[in-house]
Amino acid sequence: MTASTPTAPPAPPARRFRASTFEPVSFFCTGLTGLATFLILAILALILGNIFLQGGAGLSPRFMFGNADKDMFDVASAGVWPMVFGTAARVILMTLFVIPIGVTTASYLTEYAPALSPFTRIIRGAVNNLAGVPSIVFGLFGLGFFISAVGGTLDVFLYPDSPKPVWGKAALIWASLTLAVMTLPVVIVATEESLRAIPLGLREASLALGATKLQTVLRVVLPQALPGILTGGILAVSRAAGEVAPILFTGAAYYMASLPQSLTDQFMDLAYHVFVLSTQSPDIEKTRPILYGTVVVLLLLTFALNLVAILIRARVRRNLRRLA
């Protein structure tokens, strides 16, 4: 600007945009992180590939719906129906407990609780904490609280004369309750997330028409949050279906001659059965087809659920982004 000489300043060297953006370090490092991403996906593919290639062949209606009554380790006759039944029973029972409590808690946190009260902070802290408790500790808790304390007390009052414990032993109901406690944070977090995404304007619209808070929550807010609640429920189910540690002492049975008949019966379980087949088989090579088959059934169950949940969530997030 301040050129004092009459001669024009020398033209700046022409920029070659294309060449100047290439930077070897950046290129290399980007490649490295890309490789890490790829590696994780490759491991995932490897695991799934191995399992489905080896296990897919063994799947048959007889295997799915056959009973395990003769010999669990006999390749020709073993079926996983009792385990599928047991796993389904415990997760369905679990959702009956966890969804109402989880959705109510999430509603309280987003709709009722004052945003900054210490009380709310404590509930949030407890939820976060619960999410990090090791699953085996939930197992111990189920044993110490549900079976010994609750079950034991029930027995004292309901069956004082029964020689055998009725409630105070490992049972379907206790395993389900233990899992419900474990998956509570999953449901709360997913529900809360979807509740927060609902615009304030909707609540205002309802309240301005003279709806009570409860009417607003029940008829306007919660219906909107349904996809989130659904995702939470599915994630909880898929998480719980694959868990073994919490049910190890609270309900899973190594072998049962019949399907569980009541809430106080023990049950055979798909995930636990994978553990049994992996570690207690008399001849791991011979029983390998049953093992792989069982893993495939378990994976199909948990994975399919997970995939559905992830897709719903991605969809909801995309819609939200579009609305924002």
């Binding site: 808690t105 699953s135 085996i136 500790v137 409860l214 553990f275 992830i310």
Partner: protein, 381 residues
């Protein structure tokens, strides 16, 4: 206009609100109950109220002839049976057991260790020269007559597998988080993220199975170490469980760094990588740290993977290729065989309480850090 009715006009609404509040206390209640009921079973060990000394145990002898005179509850406790076991046995069996106990006393090892209460803190944590050993050692061996309850081998086992898992998982997960959140083309991002998160959908028992059946043999063939199941294999499999945890949290933290930071850097002519590495990563560093801490909590608390892939030998060694036994696997493997309320049972609950405490703290730290980071980033925005 008749507006003066106040809250009392809607008792149902009021009631519903109170019920909602009560139900949402469940989360707090549960944490408290876990603390209480896991702690309750472990407490006698903590204060030294358990006694595993054989000499103490066999002090009292009830001869089979006295069967009718002793109350059943007393007898059950004397024989160390669970209620269920006790109810299923007939008189003859019980008498046999009483006789066996007399024999056991006779055969009580002539061993100074039999006098020890091995649940005292000095035996739980310190080395002891057991009979037959030529120097003091840390031993976890709650079998046969003298239960050795030293926790050190289990701590080492847990730390070893966790170390391997984090070493493997953290760099990989954070690099992937950086790539997915900052560097990948937006279209790829849409499926990369759910893809990696799918990993968290694989149950840990399946990871354990995969480690046991496939990885163990593969790595043994590759490296040629002697024990097929060891801390290394267990750690790698554990890493697979940790990756999605670290990835999700780190990715979230990186994504929450305002887009304007990156744009400012790009506008100054830096490459995407430079913007990600020099601007975004430092801004999100607390979140990445938190991801690692929470990954640690996940790794140390995982049960099935290590139970199936670590070999479960409680050896004190720094070698990653030795079999090892973790806190979690010990609880899972041994609790079923213990007598409810016995010292073995209580020591296992003590392990559980310790695990609870460790994960409690790591969660607290992780959450605090994330909370602070989010506040900071939002404040700056």
């Amino acid at each position: 206009m008749g507006l003066h009715r106040g809250h009392r006009a809607r008792p149902l609404e009021w009631l519903a609100e109170k019920i909602i509040l009560l139900i949402s206390l469940t989360a707090i209640l549960v944490v408290f109950l876990i603390f209480l009921f896991v702690g309750r079973e472990a407490w006698p060990v903590v204060i030294g109220a358990t006694n595993s000394s054989l000499a103490q145990e066999y002090q009292e002898i009830i001869p089979p002839e006295d069967f009718a005179r002793v109350p059943p509850a007393r007898l059950r406790q004397y024989l160390g049976l669970t209620r269920q076991q006790f109810e299923q046995m007939d008189e003859e069996t019980l008498k046999d057991l009483m006789a066996l106990r007399i024999e056991a006393k006779a055969q009580m090892p002539d061993d100074p260790d039999a006098e020890l209460n091995t649940t005292e803190w000095r035996y739980l944590l310190g080395p002891h020269q057991w009979t037959g050993y030529d120097r003091p050692a840390y031993i976890w061996q709650p079998v046969s007559q003298i239960h050795k309850y030293n926790l050190v081998p289990l701590f080492i086992g847990s730390l070893k597998t966790t170390f391997v898992a984090l070493l493997f998982a953290v760099p990989l997960a954070i690099a992937a988080a950086l790539y997915v959140s900052q560097l990948a083309p937006p279209r790829a991002r849409e499926w990369l993220k759910p893809g990696i998160e799918l990993l968290s959908g694989i149950p840990s028992v399946v990871l354990g199975f995969f480690a046991l059946i496939v990885m163990a043999s593969f790595f043994q063939a590759l490296f040629g170490y002697p024990s097929r199941l060891n801390a290394f294999v267990a750690g790698l499999a554990l890493g697979l469980a940790v990756i999605p945890v670290v990835f999700s949290i780190a990715e979230d933290a990186l994504t929450s760094v305002p887009r304007s930071y990156t744009e400012a850097a790009l506008a100054l002519g830096s490459t995407r990588w430079q913007a990600a590495w020099q601007i975004v990563l430092p801004a999100a560093l607390p979140g990445v740290f938190a991801a690692t801490v929470l990954g640690f909590g996940r790794a140390i608390g995982e049960t099935m993977v290590v139970l199936m892939a670590s070999g479960n030998a409680s050896i004190v060694s720094g070698n990653l290729f030795d079999s090892t036994r973790t806190l979690t696997a010990t609880i899972a493997a041994e609790l079923a065989e213990t007598v409810v309320g016995g010292h073995h049972y209580r020591v296992l609950f003590l392990l559980g309480a310790l695990l609870f405490a460790v994960t409690f703290i790591s969660n607290l730290v992780g959450d605090l850090v994330i909370h602070r980071l989010k506040g900071q980033l939002e404040g700056k925005r």
